[in-house]
């Protein structure tokens, strides 16, 4: 037997050091064990579960015993009209949200910034943020109470002054606008937070200098305030475009109704209809996976653009 070389010995010591470090920290690992198992079971196992999209899922055989069918499900979904409609609607609703909804928080933030009475500004913010905490179930319920064609309060009021009912929820175009409107109602105020934060970072001396030069408020807003929050605007715009392909479930599901499903059925609600209600797991998983991949492409593109424009990624 050869005596341990110097290198061997130091390696051994290092290993012992490692072992001691891990043993000494056993309490920390003990604490981490439960949360890490949580993430593995409830987050990573479902990620492997997307394999269902490539299998002819059989309830009795389970995911792993079911037969592989390759890309069959993907070929199938592209022959489903409803899927293509859902895809179109997802992009359409997101695009409208972006075009109509994106500028509003900016305008609100600029106006809030002009308020000089502190207490008024603070109370205004409190009220503006409030709708963000109302659940979509409640918002959907309120929408029915307010906008139903026959019994909705708004239409009852319109009728009473001699105007015909507006089919806010039952006609496609009106429904889309109502959908966008409720989104603005809920989140436009909340959306001002990041802009207001960016506004506090603008150098006050710029305004003082502009005042000396006799600049009007509008000019100051245009030449100082707006450029000050431009980076925030750009990055939020890029992030929003990055999320173009993904849509939440609750808002379209709870705002929608069978009469307008032509425009209200989006990917997330369609996955629910096909997967949960009709139990066609393979197809529904394939749709979800397809959307996730498109979503990832959008996000990575957005991140790439953001790096080009801002020298900074979006995460």
């Amino acid at each position: 037997m050869q005596p341990l070389s110097h290198a061997d010995r130091s390696n051994k010591q290092k290993l012992l050091g490692h072992a001691r470090g891990i043993l000494g920290d056993w309490q920390l690992y003990f604490l981490l064990a439960l949360p890490l198992s949580y993430f593995i079971i409830f987050k990573y196992v479902p990620m492997l579960g997307v394999a269902v999209a490539f299998k002819d899922y059989n309830v009795f055989r389970g995911i792993w015993e079911s037969e592989w069918i390759g890309l069959e499900a993907f070929r199938e979904i592209f022959q489903m009209d409803a899927f293509l409609y859902a895809l179109r609607n997802t992009f359409l609703l997101n695009l409208l949200d972006l075009v109509i909804g994106f500028p509003i928080p900016i305008i609100l933030a600029l106006l809030l910034n002009e308020l000089r009475v502190k207490w008024f500004k603070r109370s205004a913010q409190t009220l503006l943020y409030l709708p963000h905490f109302i659940s979509w179930v409640v918002i959907g319920g309120m929408a029915v109470q307010l906008f139903a064609t026959n019994s909705g309060s708004v239409n009852v009021f319109l009728n009473s002054i001699g105007i015909e009912s507006i089919p806010f929820l039952s006609e496609k175009t009106h429904w889309v606008l109502t959908y966008v409107g409720t989104g603005i109602w809920r989140d436009a105020g909340w959306g001002t937070i990041l802009y207001l934060a960016a506004l506090t970072g603008i150098n006050k001396e710029l305004y003082e200098a502009a005042e000396v030069d006799g600049a009007t408020r509008l000019r100051k807003m245009w030449h100082i305030t707006l450029p000050g929050i431009k980076p925030t605007i750009v990055i939020l715009l890029i992030i929003n475009v990055g999320h173009m392909a993904s849509i939440g479930f609750e808002r379209p599901f709870l705002m929608g109704n069978p009469g307008v499903s032509d425009v209200a059925e989006v990917i997330s609600t369609y996955v629910y209809t096909v997967g949960i209600q009709s139990a066609r797991y393979t197809v529904a998983t394939a749709i979800g996976l397809f959307q996730a991949v498109i979503g990832l492409i959008f996000l990575l593109t957005a991140d790439f653009i953001s790096r080009k424009v801002n020298d900074q990624g979006i995460w």
């Binding site: 949580y38 990620m47 269902v52 179930v137 309120m142 109470q145 909340w190």
Partner: protein, 290 residues
């Protein structure tokens, strides 16, 4: 001179405009509140706008007489407490070890956790997992899958890291275990942020709907939001009509629906003033990447 006068005028306009927007935020809720206290006749005639006409409490009495609704309400309260307790426990025991930069594997664990903020299996794989675990239609399905929010975990970790290390080091010198440090130093020092995170979790659970819709089928396990959905939106108000037939002069569904919606909202409105500013700082942390 005219400059200053002009500016005042602009100020007034902005204040007026913002006031109108604020009113728009509140009006739907005020209107619903008014409806819930109004008489049938007034609602049918379209007389109710922002204050009750023919004030009465019949709608609320009916909600309380509606066994399934009351059960959902109590179930939701119980669920929110259970969920918040589990979620806080899990988040605390995850956040504390991850503040230790010398902990081996820490970066890998953090990576594992952050990755889940961007990727998920999706609705169906989640559903199939719940089925394999025999969690479908059990209360735990509304507790466990959302037990740790990676985002809140990072917030709490940041907060724990801001507690001066000297406190912990001197406790280590005295031979205190990590468990003890967490329990007697870290937690007492972070009570405000623990309270805030609890409210985050509680509000999220109270408002949560999607998981209940997908995983829950028994009426006894309907959280309030799912019950509201069944009552107000999907029009499955069958059991309601029976109730109406029983009570002569029962309110039209309008006021009853409005009253039910109030039950879904009021708890949020009650805690909102206290947590508003924490939510704002939370939104900032989210923006300034974790």
């Amino acid at each position: 001179m005219s400059h200053a006068a002009n500016s005042k005028w602009v100020d007034a306009c902005i204040i007026a405009f913002i006031s109108v927007i604020c009113l728009l935020c509140l009006l739907p809720m005020i209107h619903l509140l008014a409806l819930s206290f109004s008489s049938n006749g007034a609602i049918m005639a379209g007389k109710v706008s922002l204050y009750p006409i023919g004030f009465n409490l019949t709608a609320y009495k009916s909600v309380f007489a509606h066994a399934a609704m009351v059960r959902s309400l109590f179930f939701s309260i119980f669920l929110v407490c259970l969920f918040t307790a589990v979620a806080m426990f899990m988040t605390i025991i995850a956040a504390y070890p991850l503040t230790k930069s010398k902990l081996r594997g820490r970066n890998f664990f953090l990576f594992l956790i952050v990755l889940t903020m961007f990727f998920s299996g999706g609705i169906i794989p989640d559903y199939l997992l719940m089925r394999e675990l025999h969690l479908l239609d059990k209360i735990w399905v509304l507790v466990l899958p959302g037990a740790i929010s990676a985002f809140y975990l990072l917030i709490l970790k940041t907060f724990f890291s801001s507690i001066p290390v000297e406190l912990e080091e001197s406790a280590r010198m005295d031979g205190a275990s990590y468990f003890r440090i967490l329990w007697s130093i870290m937690l007492p020092l972070s009570l405000p942020s623990l309270a805030t995170l609890s409210l985050f979790y509680a509000v999220g659970r109270w408002n949560g709907f999607q998981d209940a819709l997908i995983y829950i089928t028994s009426q006894e396990l309907y959280p309030i939001q799912l019950k509201l959905y069944a009552l107000v939106i999907s029009g499955q108000a069958n059991d309601l009509s029976i109730m109406e037939a029983q009570n002569a002069g029962a309110p039209v569904p309008q006021s009853l629906k409005a009253a039910s919606i109030m039950f879904g909202t009021v708890p949020i409105l009650l805690v909102y003033p206290f947590i508003q500013r924490y939510f704002i700082s939370g939104a900032m942390i989210g923006a300034v990447k974790g």
